[in-house]
């Protein structure tokens, strides 16, 4: 165990994965990750080609060129940088390139705001990237290694984005156990694709596909996404066998068995929610509040979620994003997952935008609202902003 900043713990994991090519462009709060990797390369600790690109659009494009040539690649970004990558993200997934990227989740402008929420990655949910969200720095670090294993699997071949909340996880100092290099080498063999750019087998990549087969190619990506569900679970348990740590597969639960109210969220707020639940359960009132941690947002684990909330009476979905004009994206997805199940009451909460703190009290208030809904038997507000100040 060492105490280190979250960004450094991720950089160490990246190093252990031995990427051939790293391309990155600085943006707060991702900078400490790519600075640390640059230092590793400069000090000869990491033998990677590090491309200091002129934009995030080019960062992802360099990864595409390198990955298609057979290299293991890495980049990291957030917020405006991820938005600038938008079309390249779709392209990387469509080309079936197993690129791994850290998303140091942050809000989107305007108004410009450099603090945490998850609007950036959630806005790319339809891009064909597998999206994982880490609860703490240890998980962000370990998830990076798992990400390559998932992405590069011949049955999957999709890019993976590892979400870690900006500042909250990137800049926090916590004890972290790093994975020893020999064990990582054993867990993650070098990338050995069947097809790559080479005069030895001069294939053409990125051809124009007509309406006659475009749907089928999109379907193939979708199917790979579906297969990824099993793969993510398997990789998580393989990781536990090798390194002794496990954070759940697609989802994880906490105090959920007897819970009437289940809180659902992604990322670092899970830790806060666990503490709040502990207090709620300890204060003698016997409130049956539990938690479902959504670890994998795409592919969306609809079945696992439906199963996990089956005996709850209300779920409270926490969204650090908003689909403006509707509601939080996770809330929408969860509700749709439950629709067939005739499940518990569903309440959605928009919170933590642009770095606003989410306190235990907030969580308690939300739990209380859900309890109220149970008592009245109806959901008053389908989706609401939490702690909205004066306008």
């Amino acid at each position: 165990m060492e105490i280190m900043e979250g960004s450094l713990a991720v950089a160490e994991a990246v190093k252990a994965c031995r990427p051939n090519v790293i391309a990155a462009y600085p943006i707060t709060p991702q900078t400490h990750i790519v600075e640390e990797i640059a230092r590793m390369v400069a000090d000869g600790e990491l033998a990677s080609e590090y491309v200091r690109v002129e934009s995030e659009h080019s960062a992802m494009s360099v990864c595409i060129g390198a990955s298609a040539t057979g290299a293991r690649t890495y980049t990291a970004t957030t917020s405006q940088g991820m938005a600038l990558m938008h079309e390249v993200l779709f392209n990387a997934a469509g080309l079936r390139l197993p690129i791994v990227m850290t998303a140091a989740n942050r809000s989107l402008s305007a108004p410009i705001n450099i603090w945490n929420d998850q609007q950036d990655a959630v806005s790319e949910r339809d891009s064909g990237w597998i999206q994982l969200y880490a609860e703490d720095t240890q998980e962000a670090s370990d998830m990076t290694i798992q990400a390559y294993k998932i992405a590069e699997d011949r049955d999957i071949l999709l890019p993976v984005m590892v979400g870690m909340d900006g500042f909250i996880l990137t800049h926090v100092h916590e004890p972290v156990e790093l994975c020893p290099q020999e064990k990582v080498d054993d867990f993650l063999p070098s990338y050995d694709p069947d097809h790559y750019l080479t005069p030895k087998n001069p294939l053409s990549f990125g051809t124009i596909v007509y309406p006659s087969t475009y749907t089928e190619f999109r379907y193939m990506i979708h199917e790979a996404m579906k297969r990824a569900e099993r793969k993510i679970i398997d990789v998580a348990s393989d990781f536990r066998d090798k390194f002794g740590r496990h954070y759940g597969g697609l989802i994880d639960t906490y105090e959920a068995e007897d819970a009437e109210v289940l809180i659902m969220a992604m990322g670092s707020v899970i830790g806060t929610a666990k503490d709040a639940i502990d207090e709620l359960r300890a204060d003698g009132k016997g409130e049956k509040v539990g938690l479902v941690k959504v670890r994998c947002y795409r592919p969306f684990p609809a079945e696992a979620i439906a199963e996990a909330v089956k005996s709850a009476k209300a779920i409270a979905v926490l969204d650090k994003n908003i689909s403006l004009g509707y509601e939080g994206a996770l809330h929408t997805d969860v509700k749709s997952a439950l629709y067939k199940e005739n499940g518990p009451l569903a309440l959605g909460f928009i919170l933590g935008l642009g770095g606003r703190d989410i306190t235990k009290n907030t969580i308690k208030n939300i739990a209380e609202k859900a309890q109220k809904a149970i008592k009245s038997g109806r959901v008053e507000k389908d989706s609401e902003f939490v702690d909205l100040g004066a306008l």
């Binding site: 080019s58 360099v62 060129g65 390249v88 080479t198 005069p199 294939l203 124009i208």
Partner: protein, 292 residues
């Protein structure tokens, strides 16, 4: 006989200059290359799934990122110890190169990647239907710079990308025209033999977009050079090292053969515009010492 590395059966218009450029580039490069193409006519006509005209490894990603993708291919070869396996070449249209992809190109040139970037210059966005680009020459009528009652078509001169590329201090910049095929082949060979970033701009007339009969693609290309409107030269680290000298012809000979300049000969005030275009050619002749 040398193997044809750009296969027939592609969907280019009959008489397509870009297809000729692709053939000549591959004649110069040989088969040990990896080609990166941005979106554009050449990419679309050469890769209708499940077919491809390319007999060399080839990748298309997006419209504005060919230089960055090529950078990635190059560093990957280096990192994987496969540098000797292939030379990396990007082949993009003027829109992809000079407009939307100029940031990625500048980055690639500045970072010193061992990549040859080749722009086939057909002087407009042909793939989307002949819209102007910053490489469209003064006076040309396109679908977004149409000649009209109060317009003589494109009202800005061609952006000088070879000069911008040269300003990066790269080891080799050259212009060429498909009308001089041996020169194209020689320059491609030379470019790929030099370590570091190289930029080549090859004039590639487009019969469909410029409005001339497909049989005249080469003749039109030759006239662009002979009138001084497309000067052919090489430069190394910012200094011009060779120039193709010509016995110059008046610009009208070039312009009158194309529909895109037709209005200059038919509308009132056209003469003044022709004079301006002649001035551009004269200035080129002076700058490069084109006159024999």
């Amino acid at each position: 006989m040398q193997e044809e590395l750009f296969a027939p059966g592609h969907r280019g218009c009959a008489g397509c200059g870009a297809a000729i450029a692709a053939r000549l580039i591959l004649k110069g490069s040989g088969k040990d290359v990896i080609i990166v193409s941005p979106t554009g006519c050449l990419e679309v006509v050469s890769s209708p799934y499940p077919e491809s005209a390319w007999k060399v490894p080839w990748i298309h990603s997006l419209f504005e990122n060919a230089a960055a993708v090529a950078s990635g291919v190059e560093v990957a070869l280096k990192s994987l110890g496969r540098k000797d396996e292939a030379k990396v070449i990007a082949i993009g249209g003027d829109g992809a190169t000079i407009d939307i992809g100029i940031g990625a190109l500048s980055g690639m040139l500045e970072r010193g990647h061992d990549v040859t970037y080749i722009c086939y210059d057909n002087e407009a966005y042909m793939n989307t239907g002949i819209q102007r680009s910053s490489s469209t020459p003064y006076g040309a009528s396109t679908t977004t710079s149409p000649a009209g009652k109060v317009s003589f078509g494109e009202n800005r001169p061609k952006k000088n990308l070879p000069a911008i590329a040269a300003a990066h201090g790269i080891p080799y910049v050259a212009t060429a025209s498909i009308a001089y095929p041996k020169d194209v082949i020689k320059k491609v060979k030379k470019a790929i033999s030099i370590e570091g970033p190289k930029y080549l701009q090859i004039h590639a007339p487009c019969c469909t977009g410029w409005g001339f009969d497909g049989s005249k693609t080469i003749e039109i290309g030759r006239l662009a050079v002979e009138t001084g409107l497309f000067p052919i030269y090489e430069s190394t680290e910012g200094k011009v090292t060779s120039v193709k000298k010509v016995k110059r012809k008046p610009v009208e000979e070039y312009l009158k053969a194309q529909r895109r300049f037709k209005h200059l000969f038919e509308s009132e005030g056209g003469e003044g515009e022709l004079k301006k275009i002649q001035d551009i050619a004269d200035a080129n002749a002076k700058q490069f010492g084109l006159d024999l």
